[in-house]
Symmetry: C2
Subunit: 224 residues, 2 copies
């Protein structure tokens, strides 16, 4: 590890997207500090995947935060079923303010580390209707973050990197494969079993499977 | 409880300021949902105070989030001493990105509740140099929040209320006293003992004590 490298905090969920983002940040020369959130998501195999994916980071922290106390999403509220076919609009799998919460925790850690760079794998193409995956949200977040922190007050500039924001799932997979990402480690399914096997039916599974097909890359996903 | 009242999420720390904010929100006719964060702050008597203060709310949630994992502040890192006299600039008692994190969690709960109002007791007068207590931060936060959420996307407008932002500590105490706030329940000290008794020496204690003096209100604080 070269001490002269700039530090970055990278949000790593254990999914395909954030695994790609971590590889991209490392390829750009950042010393990466991976942050995963245990927010009582239905699929805990996502966190097992995050631990595998983040093994190449300088440090990996898993922070517990029980968003299921608030309820309101099929991903944290076990009384709401994960639908196999989403109607239009904002889907029920949307976790309220999730990216806002995650970026805020990344910002807190970045501030302690003296890092001015935060990476998040949001995507506006396949974003499934989540409001907090749009570029205008990220821009507003960055502006706010630069007013919130010591670094911002002292005239330094924090950047929220969203290298996937304009990529299709197939493009993400192609770029990640070129960087050597091992997608067999990753779990995207909203309801993966405890061995990390995907349902193959939910929104996230369908988008992922199609992505491998479109990219012409063999799909290493283990399905139930 | 009148079901027609609008709902608000109120951040309640157990301190003097947020107790006043809760009373103000209730006086404005909101059904208040109080949110406290257990972020491994040094003084756990703050949370005991929050439970007393929030007893008048419709619901009170205490969310655990271990910010001490990140370190970097005298309020969460036990290896950093709380200073008795702060030098200029941003103090060591600043918790990195705290208000950003707290507001984000309030936003998440507000979204689930269908609340469009969040209250926070930030104060720009006695703000002790914290960047995330400034009006420009709150404005940028509100703008971001309205892009982050379902409500915002659907054209509703979230408001972050900061009724204390331009008040001196004495004015806060006068207004809270008029609303019947019982300040003996509150704990402001950065290092209160486990009976909630204040040190009388830290920055927060000195500002509070002076506030009661300036307001001409008897100080009910229990000191060690």
């Amino acid at each position: 590890m070269n001490q002269a490298n700039p530090k970055a905090v990278v949000l790593v969920s254990g999914g395909l997207d954030s695994a790609t983002v971590l590889a991209m940040a490392q390829a750009q020369g950042f010393d990466c500090f991976a942050l995963s959130l245990n927010y009582n998501q239905r699929s805990t195999s996502e966190l097992d995947a995050a631990r595998l994916v983040a093994a190449t980071a300088v440090q990996h922290q898993v922070l517990d935060i029980d968003l299921s106390k608030f309820g309101g999403s099929a991903l944290t509220d076990t009384t709401i079923a994960v639908p196999e076919d989403e109607p239009g609009g904002i889907p029920i799998t949307y976790v309220p303010a999730r990216n806002t919460v995650f970026l805020s925790l990344a910002l807190a850690w970045a501030e302690v580390l003296g890092a001015l760079d935060v990476f998040i794998g949001v995507n506006a193409v396949d974003y499934s209707g989540y409001p907090d995956c749009r570029p205008e949200f990220i821009n507003a977040y960055t502006e706010m973050a630069n007013l919130a922190t010591k670094a911002g007050v002292e005239g330094q500039k924090l950047t929220v990197h969203t290298p996937l924001i304009d990529l299709t799932k197939a493009e993400i997979i192609k770029q990640g494969s070129a960087l050597g990402v091992d997608y067999s480690q990753t779990v995207s399914c909203y309801q993966a079993d405890d061995q990390g096997r995907a349902c193959g039916k939910c929104d996230s599974c369908r988008i992922r499977r199609q992505g491998f097909l479109d990219a012409g890359v063999a799909d290493p996903t283990r399905y139930v």
